[in-house]
């Protein structure tokens, strides 16, 4: 009796073990994908091809030509960027998902969106409506929410076909450019947030194909950020240039690399100042039914070039320069504010600030915001501080005149 029980107990153990082992084989790898089976999309573009169809273009990394070009360069053959590392193909469809399924037929490998870091929307499409495109980007699980969004002047298809001389591919170029924060830097998530905000306005970096350098072939160039596309209610309503969009960056605390040149009175030449950090605030106020907004920016700068004879070690001069600098920055911010009020697109998100500060009044006036916004009184206060005169204290021009 005891023996048989033991026997069954052992059998049970063996069976349980076998069940567990077979789990591996049964589940085994059903969703396994080798890297070799993936068409890694590095950038995607969406264009309007006709009234109700759109064209999806993807740039897919081509590991085969990349590895062969690597080998040939190892063999001593140095060609100028030999071999395109990208395969660019497009397909049409009524929606992106539809276009994608058609595009998939043109690829022997599974399209993989996990590394699509740049998504370019053609201007024509952007002028129509982008919400449905954003919907795909946010809904489809493989697409990254931190993919960067760009609006291009030329069809996105042409941008993707570029073969940048310096970087690996166009997505890398655009990514690096937006990282420098010389223009707006907007990810899919940011964009959807902007469009959902009280203001319903958004600014997305606007790119244009840079004319190729002399001597190089047509597509040996990049696309660079030439401004921002301004969106309102999911439609592109216009564009602002780099200078103005930088004014927006100042207010969004996003400026990273900025050089401001000012021309002090009574001397010749410019003094260039490099931005170190900036902190800005929106202070809304409603007084007697007048909507007012105070923009406050505190910035710290270094002198990076001095063409004048001004002695930058003199506190008096510094004071004067700080004053000039804040005037200059005010001018830039003012330009952005004016532009956005003129377009009636609240890209600075004044709406949010008012909403937070005066929730009750906001609720009442939310429907009239389009009328209110252009009328908002904007006051700009810039507090510029010059931290250091740079690594030399005497201006170069003084050497000749004062130096013995």
């Amino acid at each position: 009796m005891h023996k048989t029980r033991k026997f069954f107990k052992q059998r049970k153990t063996v069976l349980t073990l076998l069940c567990f082992l077979s789990l591996f084989l049964l589940t085994g790898c059903w969703d396994r994908t080798e890297v070799n089976d993936l068409a890694i999309i590095t950038a995607a573009g969406i264009d309007q091809s006709s009234d109700d169809t759109l064209e999806l273009t993807v740039a897919v990394f081509a590991p085969k030509s990349a590895s062969s070009s690597q080998q040939s360069s190892m063999g001593g053959e140095v060609g100028p960027n030999s071999g395109q590392q990208e395969v660019v193909r497009s397909a049409e469809g009524v929606t992106i998902a539809d276009a994608m399924s058609k595009l998939q037929q043109k690829f022997p490998r599974r399209l993989f969106w996990g590394h699509a870091n740049a998504i370019i929307l053609g201007e024509e499409l952007a002028k129509k409506d982008i919400r449905s495109q954003i919907d795909f980007i946010l809904r489809y699980p493989e697409v990254r929410e931190n993919a960067h969004i760009f609006i291009s002047k030329q069809p996105a298809k042409e941008v993707l076909a570029l073969n940048p001389p310096l970087e690996r591919d166009i997505s890398k170029v655009l990514l690096e450019l937006s990282k420098l924060k010389i223009g707006m830097d907007v990810t899919a998530k940011d964009l959807s947030e902007m469009l959902l905000k009280d203001s319903g306005a958004a600014a997305i970096p606007y790119i244009e194909i840079l004319p190729p350098e002399g001597g190089s072939s047509d597509n040996q160039t990049i696309a660079d950020i030439t401004g921002s596309a301004v969106f309102k209610n999911d439609k592109m309503i216009g564009k602002i240039n780099t200078k103005v969009s930088r004014g927006i960056l100042w207010l969004r605390n996003e400026v990273k690399l900025a050089v401001v040149s000012i021309k002090p009175p009574k001397t010749e030449g410019y003094i260039s100042l490099q931005l170190l950090r900036v902190h800005s605030q929106l202070i809304p106020k409603i007084e007697n039914g007048r909507w007012k907004m105070t923009l406050k920016a505190v910035t710290q700068d270094d002198i990076s070039q001095n063409e004048t004879t001004l002695d930058t070690t003199d506190p008096k001069n510094i004071k004067m320069l700080e004053h000039l600098l804040s005037r200059e920055i005010t001018k830039r911010i003012r330009a952005a504010v004016d532009q956005s009020q003129k377009m009636n697109a609240d890209i600075l998100n004044f709406a949010g600030a008012f909403h937070r500060r005066y929730p009750a009044i906001w609720e009442r006036n939310v429907s009239q915001w389009d009328e209110i916004f252009p009328q908002v009184d904007v006051k700009i206060i810039v507090d510029a501080n010059i931290k250091r005169p740079g690594t030399t204290t005497i201006p170069s021009k003084m050497n000749r005149e004062v130096g013995r």
Binding site: Q10, T13, V14, L17, F24, T27, G28, C29, D31, R32, T33, E34, V35, N36, L38, I40, T42, F61, P63, K64, A66, S67, Q70, F112, G114, H115, N117, E142, R144, R168
Partner: protein, 521 residues
Amino acid sequence: MVRFIKKPPKKKKRTHIEEKIDTNLGPDALSSSLEDNLEKLKSIYSNCADVIFRPFLIGHSSKAALIYIQGLSDYEEIDDSVLSPLMEQTFTVPANVKAIIEEKLTISGIKEVHTIKEAVEQISSGNPVVLVDQNSIGIAVGLAKWEKRSIEEPTAESVVRGPREGFIETLMINTSMLRRKIKSPNLKMKSLNIGKETKTQVMIAYIEGIVDRTLIEEITNRLKRIDIDGVLESGYIEEFIEDHPYSPFPQVLTTERPDVAAANLLEGRAAILIDGTPFALIVPVTLYSLLQSPEDYYERFLIGTMLRWLRYVFLLIALTLPSFYVAILTFHQEMVPTTLLLTVAKSREEVPFPALVEALIMEITFEVLREAGLRLPKQVGSAVSIVGALVIGDAAVNSGLVSAPMVMVVAITGIASFSIPRYNAAIAFRMLRFPMIFLAGTLGLLGIMLGLIAIIVHLSTIRSFGVPYLSPMAPMDASAMKDSLLRMPLWAFRRRPHLTGKYNKNRQAPHQKPSPTKGTE
């Protein structure tokens, strides 16, 4: 698995070793007739050409015999101190052998033997026995001496700073090395003989007053339970005294270094020294003690701490790096930086195998190379390293069978596993790497997490002689972190680590942190 399918063997009635020997030899006391005694011994040692029976006359009058085994005794000393004083002079043989011992034999290690069994034990262990006619007591002279290896630096546990001596195959020398380090009479050595045929001497060394007495009792009991025919290496003992025989993790620490053994004795552990092997077993152990090197304590404490952390990190790498690589490459391609993925994709383009197979091929090849390099005679060893460099190297990549990043991963994993100072612990983790790769290849990161959880659950279940394997981490003992996560300065180790049961808490006097004022006092 086999155990589950096979019927478990019937429990045999356990016969005590001592009894077995008795039935073999008979409980006979030595008789007073030399003839009888010799006859019995000769029948015991029948067909033993190396046992020498040397008859002679004591004092030119009384018959006697010297019995010894070739090569186990000091011949010169036998001639000078036993045979010549007894044979060269004429004297009347006293009725009692004691008188012979007192008057004639100029030897310190003398023992009387009363039974045949005792005589056989002495002869077998190398001490020649003198039997005198008309005397029922034999004399065993302690002249055992055989060729032994000189004391060398242990190759498996080398240190930059620290003593260079290692245990050797002779138990006596090993105990003397321990005794030289710990001169206190509290250092106790309990002797046992294990092995029906080999009768190997095993010593339990511990320090009275530091060790928990029940621990010694437990060790003694477990050792006494062993009933096998031979003990040729400490591994034979290890497998019989472990708490969890199916666990992949070692539950005793093996060391060749007397300083390691002494340090562990001072922390309240016990060492089991076994004749015939330079490896001493130390119990109880924890996972952390297996990850320590003696040098942690010999170098400055900051360096010791850093090295420990390096080992902990590389332990994880050794266990999981290939599986992480496989998981990310087959399931989670979106998790790596774009440039890295593109580089990997480029190098994997020509590889015909899936990442899982690629990893297994490379890992198995690496293990085989390691094993082959270990087993081969030294002269051929260099051939293996050349082939190895080709296999795990450029040629492997150029042939297109594996990708370069995989070679890198396998190489790092290999190096990482070598950074674990204890071979038996390192090999456990190396072995677990393979199931981890399988889990990663089938279930991705989820599989890796499952595997890690299973390993941690197992580790926290097992004990070594009553001490939880993960202590002092689980159960948590904050004060013991001083010597597990960190290596605090030696003057901060005021208390001994708590192992089990009662123990002597205080290790040293408090407030010994050096400072200038103290120096001038």
